[in-house]
């Protein structure tokens, strides 16, 4: 790693702030779970939980794994595996009727 590469990385205080954001998002997720139990939010609950999980996922990859500061080659390798897995298993789930597209 070069010096300028390190210079772009967040500092400890920023890492702590990111952790607070991650913890807050997790608390919101758990809150949604209980809200759904009493209000039955249906697909809105599913969509919100998936969006919150995706946010946490991207924050950890981008800031803690430093992917947003790395060369694009790494993002492409990593993203390829993710997109391949997502596509492959979405097809399997649709094929077996777990994800119903016409519902």
């Amino acid at each position: 790693m070069t010096e300028e590469h390190h210079a772009t990385h967040p500092q400890p205080a920023q890492y702590v702030k990111i952790a607070v954001v991650l913890a807050t998002l997790t608390a919101v997720e758990v809150g949604l779970y209980y809200l759904n139990n009493s209000l039955s939010l249906g697909w809105i609950n599913t969509a919100l939980l998936l969006i919150l999980a995706a946010l946490k996922f991207l924050i950890v990859i981008g800031w803690y794994m430093h992917l947003r500061f790395e060369k694009r080659t790494l993002s492409r390798f990593f993203g390829f595996g993710f997109v391949l897995a997502l596509t492959l298993y979405a097809v399997v789930l649709v094929g077996f009727g777990v994800l119903a597209l016409n519902r």
Binding site: A19, Y33, L50, Y64, T73, Y89, V98
Partner: protein, 212 residues
């Protein structure tokens, strides 16, 4: 914590030799490719769980009927915070603060161990209290295989963290080459965390919601 020792410099040249035409160290590129392939591994296990979710079986409860969401939420929080301590360990080594590096490495290993202890407790409760074993029904099997493999990954991560801690303690600090080792272990650890983010939402919160 503020102990700062100069790391051995004998391997600095070897570290820079690892740069290839991609501009990325070979081992680092290898780790990212490995982690990328792990998406397929865990994707298969999560898909397997979802295929059996919602089906009725003659024997025993299904996992979604007996989840302890408050307990798992705390476990998730612990693993999430271990990512913070991991990145602080990496940051401390970048600043060549070897004492702080060791402290954060140990903190990460301990948080990982707490998560593992929670998983052992959860499994024990499911088996003893609810009589849901690996062979009770396909939903239970897929749950144990998925979370068991994730737990195995966490355990391997804890071993690697403790190895780095021991190495740093023995040598009085991590060298330039070992800096990359710590970065690779960090990548692995954060990956285990993001996989749990997916498992916690898709396997626990979403299926418990639907099941309940």
């Amino acid at each position: 914590m503020s102990e700062s020792t100069a790391p051995p410099e004998d391997e600095e040249v070897a570290h820079h030799d690892e740069h290839e035409s991609t501009g990325v160290e070979n081992r680092k590129l290898g780790m990212w490719v490995f982690l990328s392939s792990e998406f397929l591994f865990f994707g298969a296990l999560i898909t397997n769980y979802l295929l059996y979710f919602g089906r009725e079986f003659e024997q025993g409860p299904t996992p979604s009927e007996i989840y302890d969401i408050p307990f798992t939420s705390v476990s998730s929080f612990v693993l999430l915070m271990s990512s913070l301590t991991m990145v602080l360990a990496h940051n401390a080594l970048t600043r060549r603060d070897q004492g702080a590096t060791r402290t954060w490495l140990l903190a990460t290993a301990m948080l990982g161990s707490v998560f593992l202890a929670g998983q052992v407790f959860e499994f024990t409760e499911f088996i003893v209290e609810y009589d849901m074993t690996l062979s009770t029904n396909p939903a239970a099997s897929s749950f144990y295989v998925l979370t068991g493999f994730h737990g195995t990954h966490v355990a391997i991560g804890v071993i690697m963290l403790l190895s780095l801690f021991g190495l740093s303690k023995r040598l009085g600090g991590l060298s330039e080459r070992q800096h990359l080792n710590l970065e690779l272990v960090g990548l692995y650890w954060h990956f285990v965390d993001i996989i749990w983010i997916v498992i916690f939402t898709v396997v626990y919160l979403l299926t418990a919601t639907s099941g309940g």
